[in-house]
Protein backbone atom coordinates (compact mmCIF):
# COMPACT_ATOMS: atom_id res chain seq x y z
CA UNK A 1 0.00 0.00 0.00
CA UNK A 2 1.61 3.26 -1.07
CA UNK A 3 1.42 6.64 0.67
CA UNK A 4 -1.24 7.99 -1.70
CA UNK A 5 -3.58 5.09 -0.98
CA UNK A 6 -3.10 5.51 2.79
CA UNK A 7 -3.83 9.25 2.56
CA UNK A 8 -6.93 8.55 0.44
CA UNK A 9 -8.12 5.91 2.93
CA UNK A 10 -7.55 8.25 5.88
CA UNK A 11 -9.48 10.99 4.05
CA UNK A 12 -12.43 8.65 3.39
CA UNK A 13 -12.40 7.43 7.01
CA UNK A 14 -12.26 10.96 8.48
CA UNK A 15 -15.09 12.08 6.19
CA UNK A 16 -17.21 9.14 7.31
CA UNK A 17 -16.53 9.92 10.98
CA UNK A 18 -17.46 13.59 10.60
CA UNK A 19 -20.91 12.74 9.16
CA UNK A 20 -23.62 12.77 11.82
CA UNK A 21 -25.66 9.56 11.92
CA UNK A 22 -29.15 9.63 10.51
CA UNK A 23 -32.01 10.95 12.64
CA UNK A 24 -35.55 9.81 12.12
CA UNK A 25 -38.41 12.28 12.46
CA UNK A 26 -41.92 10.89 12.65
CA UNK A 27 -45.34 11.92 13.87
CA UNK A 28 -48.92 12.62 13.03
CA UNK A 29 -50.55 15.68 11.48
CA UNK A 30 -53.97 16.78 12.66
CA UNK A 31 -56.19 19.72 11.83
CA UNK A 32 -57.87 20.71 15.07
CA UNK A 33 -58.57 17.29 16.47
CA UNK A 34 -59.11 15.31 13.27
CA UNK A 35 -56.49 13.65 11.11
CA UNK A 36 -55.53 15.30 7.81
CA UNK A 37 -55.35 11.89 6.13
CA UNK A 38 -53.27 11.84 2.95
CA UNK A 39 -53.81 15.54 2.27
CA UNK A 40 -50.62 16.96 3.78
CA UNK A 41 -47.01 16.93 2.62
CA UNK A 42 -43.98 17.52 4.82
CA UNK A 43 -40.57 18.69 3.71
CA UNK A 44 -37.50 19.55 5.73
CA UNK A 45 -34.41 21.68 5.36
CA UNK A 46 -31.33 21.22 7.52
CA UNK A 47 -28.70 23.85 6.79
CA UNK A 48 -28.18 23.87 3.06
CA UNK A 49 -29.63 20.43 2.52
CA UNK A 50 -33.28 20.20 1.54
CA UNK A 51 -35.27 16.98 1.84
CA UNK A 52 -38.05 16.28 -0.67
CA UNK A 53 -41.64 16.33 0.53
CA UNK A 54 -43.16 13.17 1.98
CA UNK A 55 -46.93 12.69 1.95
CA UNK A 56 -48.86 11.76 5.04
CA UNK A 57 -50.59 8.37 4.98
CA UNK A 58 -54.28 7.54 5.52
CA UNK A 59 -53.95 8.10 9.27
CA UNK A 60 -52.12 11.41 8.80
CA UNK A 61 -48.76 9.93 9.86
CA UNK A 62 -45.42 10.69 8.26
CA UNK A 63 -41.82 9.58 8.62
CA UNK A 64 -38.62 11.00 7.24
CA UNK A 65 -34.94 10.35 7.83
CA UNK A 66 -32.62 13.32 8.07
CA UNK A 67 -28.90 12.82 7.66
CA UNK A 68 -28.01 15.85 9.77
CA UNK A 69 -28.52 16.42 13.45
CA UNK A 70 -29.33 19.82 14.94
CA UNK A 71 -31.76 22.55 13.96
CA UNK A 72 -33.92 21.98 10.91
CA UNK A 73 -36.96 23.68 9.41
CA UNK A 74 -40.05 21.66 8.65
CA UNK A 75 -42.61 22.89 6.12
CA UNK A 76 -46.12 21.51 5.93
CA UNK A 77 -48.19 21.95 2.79
CA UNK A 78 -51.93 21.51 3.22
CA UNK A 79 -54.86 22.81 1.15
CA UNK A 80 -52.54 24.74 -1.21
CA UNK A 81 -50.95 26.58 1.73
CA UNK A 82 -47.67 26.14 3.54
CA UNK A 83 -46.51 26.76 7.09
CA UNK A 84 -43.09 26.25 8.65
CA UNK A 85 -41.66 25.58 12.09
CA UNK A 86 -38.25 24.80 13.59
CA UNK A 87 -37.53 21.29 14.80
CA UNK A 88 -34.50 19.45 16.15
CA UNK A 89 -33.02 16.32 14.63
CA UNK A 90 -31.11 13.93 16.89
CA UNK A 91 -29.08 10.74 16.55
CA UNK A 92 -32.17 8.90 17.82
CA UNK A 93 -35.70 9.10 16.50
CA UNK A 94 -37.79 12.09 17.51
CA UNK A 95 -41.58 12.34 17.50
CA UNK A 96 -42.94 15.58 16.09
CA UNK A 97 -46.75 15.66 16.06
CA UNK A 98 -48.14 18.69 14.26
CA UNK A 99 -51.38 20.59 14.75
CA UNK A 100 -52.63 22.65 11.81
CA UNK A 101 -54.98 25.57 12.24
CA UNK A 102 -56.60 27.93 9.76
CA UNK A 103 -56.61 31.45 11.13
CA UNK A 104 -57.92 34.31 8.96
CA UNK A 105 -57.54 32.03 5.95
CA UNK A 106 -53.86 31.44 6.75
CA UNK A 107 -52.35 28.08 7.65
CA UNK A 108 -50.62 27.90 11.03
CA UNK A 109 -48.63 24.98 12.39
CA UNK A 110 -47.59 24.18 15.93
CA UNK A 111 -46.11 21.19 17.67
CA UNK A 112 -48.35 19.01 19.80
Amino acid sequence: MNAKTIVALLFVLSSACSLAPAGEVYGKVVEGSSSVGEAAAIEAKCGAKAYPAVKTDKSGSYRMVLAETGKCTMTVTYKQQSASMDIASYDDAVQVDLVLEMKDGKLLVRRK
Binding site: T69, G70, A88, Y90, D92, V94, Q95, K112
Partner: protein, 292 residues
Protein backbone atom coordinates in the same frame (compact mmCIF):
# COMPACT_ATOMS: atom_id res chain seq x y z
CA UNK B 1 -137.56 -32.09 56.70
CA UNK B 2 -138.62 -33.23 53.31
CA UNK B 3 -136.51 -35.36 51.01
CA UNK B 4 -135.77 -33.60 47.78
CA UNK B 5 -135.55 -35.76 44.76
CA UNK B 6 -131.98 -35.84 43.34
CA UNK B 7 -131.53 -33.05 40.83
CA UNK B 8 -130.28 -34.43 37.55
CA UNK B 9 -126.59 -33.60 37.00
CA UNK B 10 -125.99 -31.16 34.23
CA UNK B 11 -122.83 -30.85 32.08
CA UNK B 12 -121.18 -28.44 34.55
CA UNK B 13 -121.59 -30.88 37.39
CA UNK B 14 -120.01 -33.58 35.23
CA UNK B 15 -117.16 -31.23 34.25
CA UNK B 16 -116.66 -30.39 37.93
CA UNK B 17 -116.33 -34.10 38.77
CA UNK B 18 -113.54 -34.42 36.16
CA UNK B 19 -111.82 -31.07 36.86
CA UNK B 20 -111.77 -31.38 40.65
CA UNK B 21 -109.08 -34.07 40.81
CA UNK B 22 -107.38 -32.56 37.73
CA UNK B 23 -107.08 -29.25 39.57
CA UNK B 24 -105.29 -30.97 42.38
CA UNK B 25 -103.04 -32.68 39.90
CA UNK B 26 -102.27 -29.39 38.11
CA UNK B 27 -101.49 -27.71 41.46
CA UNK B 28 -99.17 -30.56 42.32
CA UNK B 29 -97.48 -30.27 38.88
CA UNK B 30 -97.16 -26.48 39.26
CA UNK B 31 -95.64 -26.83 42.73
CA UNK B 32 -93.24 -29.51 41.47
CA UNK B 33 -92.28 -27.38 38.43
CA UNK B 34 -91.63 -24.29 40.56
CA UNK B 35 -89.63 -26.43 42.98
CA UNK B 36 -87.52 -28.00 40.23
CA UNK B 37 -86.94 -24.67 38.47
CA UNK B 38 -86.14 -22.92 41.74
CA UNK B 39 -83.68 -25.60 42.68
CA UNK B 40 -82.10 -25.40 39.21
CA UNK B 41 -81.70 -21.61 39.54
CA UNK B 42 -80.23 -22.07 43.01
CA UNK B 43 -77.87 -24.77 41.76
CA UNK B 44 -76.77 -22.59 38.84
CA UNK B 45 -76.17 -19.61 41.13
CA UNK B 46 -74.30 -21.82 43.56
CA UNK B 47 -72.16 -23.17 40.72
CA UNK B 48 -71.42 -19.60 39.56
CA UNK B 49 -70.54 -18.58 43.13
CA UNK B 50 -68.30 -21.62 43.50
CA UNK B 51 -66.59 -20.84 40.19
CA UNK B 52 -66.10 -17.19 41.15
CA UNK B 53 -64.73 -18.23 44.57
CA UNK B 54 -62.42 -20.79 42.95
CA UNK B 55 -61.24 -18.23 40.40
CA UNK B 56 -60.55 -15.59 43.05
CA UNK B 57 -58.78 -18.19 45.23
CA UNK B 58 -56.62 -19.26 42.28
CA UNK B 59 -55.89 -15.65 41.42
CA UNK B 60 -54.99 -14.73 44.99
CA UNK B 61 -52.77 -17.82 45.29
CA UNK B 62 -51.08 -16.94 42.01
CA UNK B 63 -50.71 -13.35 43.21
CA UNK B 64 -49.25 -14.60 46.52
CA UNK B 65 -46.74 -16.90 44.86
CA UNK B 66 -45.77 -14.18 42.38
CA UNK B 67 -45.41 -11.64 45.19
CA UNK B 68 -43.26 -14.07 47.15
CA UNK B 69 -41.10 -14.75 44.08
CA UNK B 70 -40.80 -11.02 43.39
CA UNK B 71 -39.99 -10.36 47.05
CA UNK B 72 -37.18 -12.97 47.05
CA UNK B 73 -35.89 -11.63 43.77
CA UNK B 74 -36.03 -8.05 45.03
CA UNK B 75 -34.27 -8.86 48.32
CA UNK B 76 -31.44 -10.76 46.62
CA UNK B 77 -30.92 -8.03 44.01
CA UNK B 78 -31.13 -5.08 46.40
CA UNK B 79 -28.59 -6.68 48.74
CA UNK B 80 -26.01 -6.53 45.97
CA UNK B 81 -26.36 -2.73 46.04
CA UNK B 82 -26.50 -2.28 49.80
CA UNK B 83 -23.49 -4.45 50.73
CA UNK B 84 -20.43 -2.21 50.54
CA UNK B 85 -18.04 -3.24 47.79
CA UNK B 86 -20.04 -6.31 46.88
CA UNK B 87 -19.90 -7.34 43.23
CA UNK B 88 -18.18 -5.79 40.26
CA UNK B 89 -19.63 -3.08 38.08
CA UNK B 90 -20.80 -5.56 35.46
CA UNK B 91 -22.95 -7.50 37.94
CA UNK B 92 -24.27 -4.24 39.44
CA UNK B 93 -25.40 -3.03 36.01
CA UNK B 94 -26.97 -6.42 35.33
CA UNK B 95 -28.79 -6.32 38.69
CA UNK B 96 -30.04 -2.82 37.96
CA UNK B 97 -31.32 -4.00 34.59
CA UNK B 98 -33.17 -6.84 36.35
CA UNK B 99 -34.65 -4.45 38.91
CA UNK B 100 -35.64 -1.91 36.29
CA UNK B 101 -37.36 -4.37 33.96
CA UNK B 102 -39.21 -6.13 36.79
CA UNK B 103 -40.02 -3.38 39.29
CA UNK B 104 -40.17 -0.17 37.26
CA UNK B 105 -43.86 0.35 38.07
CA UNK B 106 -43.47 0.09 41.83
CA UNK B 107 -40.06 1.55 42.74
CA UNK B 108 -38.25 4.78 42.15
CA UNK B 109 -34.98 3.47 40.76
CA UNK B 110 -33.43 6.88 40.10
CA UNK B 111 -31.09 6.70 43.16
CA UNK B 112 -29.70 3.36 41.98
CA UNK B 113 -29.25 4.60 38.41
CA UNK B 114 -27.44 7.71 39.74
CA UNK B 115 -25.30 5.57 42.06
CA UNK B 116 -24.15 3.36 39.18
CA UNK B 117 -23.61 6.46 37.00
CA UNK B 118 -21.40 7.95 39.77
CA UNK B 119 -19.40 4.72 40.02
CA UNK B 120 -18.89 4.81 36.26
CA UNK B 121 -17.27 8.23 36.59
CA UNK B 122 -14.62 6.81 38.91
CA UNK B 123 -11.01 6.19 37.81
CA UNK B 124 -9.93 2.89 36.30
CA UNK B 125 -13.37 1.96 35.04
CA UNK B 126 -13.10 -0.24 32.00
CA UNK B 127 -15.77 -0.10 29.30
CA UNK B 128 -17.25 3.05 30.84
CA UNK B 129 -19.05 4.09 27.64
CA UNK B 130 -20.53 0.63 27.07
CA UNK B 131 -21.90 0.52 30.66
CA UNK B 132 -23.31 4.04 30.35
CA UNK B 133 -24.96 3.13 27.05
CA UNK B 134 -26.55 0.08 28.74
CA UNK B 135 -27.86 2.21 31.62
CA UNK B 136 -29.28 4.84 29.30
CA UNK B 137 -30.83 2.23 27.02
CA UNK B 138 -32.65 0.55 29.93
CA UNK B 139 -33.85 3.92 31.22
CA UNK B 140 -35.11 4.98 27.79
CA UNK B 141 -36.89 1.68 27.23
CA UNK B 142 -38.64 1.92 30.61
CA UNK B 143 -39.65 5.54 29.97
CA UNK B 144 -40.96 4.61 26.50
CA UNK B 145 -42.99 1.70 27.94
CA UNK B 146 -44.51 3.87 30.66
CA UNK B 147 -45.21 6.72 28.25
CA UNK B 148 -46.94 4.33 25.87
CA UNK B 149 -49.20 3.12 28.70
CA UNK B 150 -49.90 6.62 30.06
CA UNK B 151 -50.54 8.30 26.71
CA UNK B 152 -53.35 5.78 26.17
CA UNK B 153 -55.21 7.20 29.17
CA UNK B 154 -54.03 10.80 29.15
CA UNK B 155 -52.71 13.58 26.95
CA UNK B 156 -49.16 14.54 26.07
CA UNK B 157 -47.20 17.19 24.23
CA UNK B 158 -43.59 17.59 23.13
CA UNK B 159 -41.33 20.62 23.11
CA UNK B 160 -37.80 21.32 21.95
CA UNK B 161 -35.38 23.27 24.14
CA UNK B 162 -32.69 25.31 22.42
CA UNK B 163 -29.77 24.87 24.83
CA UNK B 164 -27.73 27.64 23.17
CA UNK B 165 -30.64 30.05 23.67
CA UNK B 166 -30.91 28.84 27.29
CA UNK B 167 -27.25 29.65 27.84
CA UNK B 168 -27.77 33.12 26.37
CA UNK B 169 -30.79 33.77 28.61
CA UNK B 170 -28.87 32.85 31.76
CA UNK B 171 -30.81 32.54 35.03
CA UNK B 172 -34.11 33.76 33.60
CA UNK B 173 -34.43 30.50 31.65
CA UNK B 174 -36.49 29.77 28.57
CA UNK B 175 -40.27 29.56 28.42
CA UNK B 176 -41.67 26.81 26.22
CA UNK B 177 -44.98 27.10 24.38
CA UNK B 178 -47.83 26.26 26.76
CA UNK B 179 -50.53 23.68 26.16
CA UNK B 180 -54.11 23.29 27.31
CA UNK B 181 -54.96 19.74 28.33
CA UNK B 182 -58.45 18.26 28.79
CA UNK B 183 -58.95 14.77 30.22
CA UNK B 184 -62.58 13.78 30.75
CA UNK B 185 -64.04 16.91 32.35
CA UNK B 186 -60.75 18.05 33.88
CA UNK B 187 -59.06 20.92 32.05
CA UNK B 188 -55.78 22.66 32.87
CA UNK B 189 -53.26 24.97 31.22
CA UNK B 190 -49.66 23.83 31.39
CA UNK B 191 -46.56 25.97 31.04
CA UNK B 192 -42.96 24.77 31.12
CA UNK B 193 -39.88 26.85 31.85
CA UNK B 194 -36.39 25.44 31.43
CA UNK B 195 -34.12 27.02 34.02
CA UNK B 196 -30.79 25.21 33.66
CA UNK B 197 -29.11 22.53 31.62
CA UNK B 198 -26.37 20.13 32.64
CA UNK B 199 -24.90 18.81 29.39
CA UNK B 200 -22.55 16.38 31.18
CA UNK B 201 -25.28 14.67 33.21
CA UNK B 202 -27.77 15.31 30.39
CA UNK B 203 -30.25 16.84 32.80
CA UNK B 204 -32.52 19.87 32.69
CA UNK B 205 -33.94 21.85 35.58
CA UNK B 206 -37.53 22.77 34.76
CA UNK B 207 -40.45 24.57 36.35
CA UNK B 208 -43.91 23.22 35.65
CA UNK B 209 -46.81 25.60 36.15
CA UNK B 210 -50.33 24.24 35.97
CA UNK B 211 -53.21 26.68 36.03
CA UNK B 212 -56.87 25.91 36.24
CA UNK B 213 -58.85 27.63 33.47
CA UNK B 214 -60.63 30.87 34.34
CA UNK B 215 -64.05 30.40 35.93
CA UNK B 216 -63.43 26.80 36.94
CA UNK B 217 -64.90 25.45 40.18
CA UNK B 218 -61.55 24.40 41.60
CA UNK B 219 -59.07 27.16 40.65
CA UNK B 220 -55.98 25.71 42.36
CA UNK B 221 -52.67 26.34 40.64
CA UNK B 222 -49.65 24.04 40.93
CA UNK B 223 -46.03 25.09 40.55
CA UNK B 224 -43.15 22.66 40.86
CA UNK B 225 -39.43 22.86 40.14
CA UNK B 226 -37.54 19.63 39.47
CA UNK B 227 -34.75 18.04 37.45
CA UNK B 228 -35.48 15.96 34.39
CA UNK B 229 -33.01 13.37 33.16
CA UNK B 230 -32.93 9.93 31.64
CA UNK B 231 -33.65 8.27 35.01
CA UNK B 232 -36.95 10.03 35.75
CA UNK B 233 -39.79 7.67 34.95
CA UNK B 234 -43.25 9.20 34.42
CA UNK B 235 -45.30 6.65 36.39
CA UNK B 236 -43.12 7.12 39.46
CA UNK B 237 -41.89 10.69 39.23
CA UNK B 238 -44.87 12.93 38.59
CA UNK B 239 -46.61 15.97 40.03
CA UNK B 240 -49.99 15.50 41.68
CA UNK B 241 -52.53 18.15 40.67
CA UNK B 242 -55.50 19.35 42.68
CA UNK B 243 -58.01 17.90 40.20
CA UNK B 244 -56.73 14.33 40.62
CA UNK B 245 -54.56 14.36 37.52
CA UNK B 246 -50.81 13.66 37.51
CA UNK B 247 -48.33 15.37 35.18
CA UNK B 248 -44.85 14.10 34.39
CA UNK B 249 -42.08 15.63 32.31
CA UNK B 250 -39.60 13.26 30.67
CA UNK B 251 -36.46 13.73 28.63
CA UNK B 252 -36.90 12.19 25.20
CA UNK B 253 -33.78 13.45 23.33
CA UNK B 254 -30.62 15.26 24.27
CA UNK B 255 -27.81 16.68 22.15
CA UNK B 256 -25.18 19.35 22.94
CA UNK B 257 -27.36 22.05 21.36
CA UNK B 258 -30.96 20.79 21.69
CA UNK B 259 -33.14 18.71 23.99
CA UNK B 260 -36.67 17.36 23.64
CA UNK B 261 -39.08 17.15 26.56
CA UNK B 262 -42.32 15.17 26.63
CA UNK B 263 -45.00 16.14 29.12
CA UNK B 264 -47.80 13.71 29.87
CA UNK B 265 -50.83 14.25 32.09
CA UNK B 266 -52.95 11.28 33.14
CA UNK B 267 -55.57 10.25 35.71
CA UNK B 268 -54.09 9.40 39.11
CA UNK B 269 -55.31 5.77 38.89
CA UNK B 270 -52.53 5.05 36.39
CA UNK B 271 -49.71 6.28 38.59
CA UNK B 272 -47.30 3.72 40.07
CA UNK B 273 -48.33 1.05 42.58
CA UNK B 274 -46.52 2.93 45.34
CA UNK B 275 -48.62 6.03 44.70
CA UNK B 276 -51.71 5.73 46.87
CA UNK B 277 -54.70 8.05 46.40
CA UNK B 278 -55.61 10.50 49.15
CA UNK B 279 -58.59 9.44 51.28
CA UNK B 280 -60.62 12.50 50.29
CA UNK B 281 -60.05 11.65 46.62
CA UNK B 282 -61.38 8.12 47.22
CA UNK B 283 -64.41 9.44 49.11
CA UNK B 284 -65.07 12.03 46.40
CA UNK B 285 -64.98 9.32 43.73
CA UNK B 286 -67.31 7.08 45.73
CA UNK B 287 -69.76 9.96 46.14
CA UNK B 288 -69.60 10.73 42.42
CA UNK B 289 -70.25 7.10 41.47
CA UNK B 290 -73.15 6.93 43.99
CA UNK B 291 -74.71 10.05 42.41
CA UNK B 292 -74.50 8.44 38.96
Amino acid sequence: MTDKPDKPKDRWDKLAVILHPLGGLLTAVAVATVGIMGSQVLNRRQALDTNARLYSELMSRREESESSLRKDMFVSIIQSFLKPGAGDLDSKVLNLELLAYNFHESLNLKPLFLDIARRLDGPEVKDRDAFRARLNRVAREITAKQMFALEGHGKSFRRTVDLEELQRQGRSGVALEGESIAIDDRVCDLNLYVLEADPVAQQLRVRLEVKAPEGSENPVDTRAVFSVGWYDFPMIDNTRLANGLRCAVTLSNFSPSMADLTTVCFPGEYASLKDRPYYDEVIQKLQESAQE
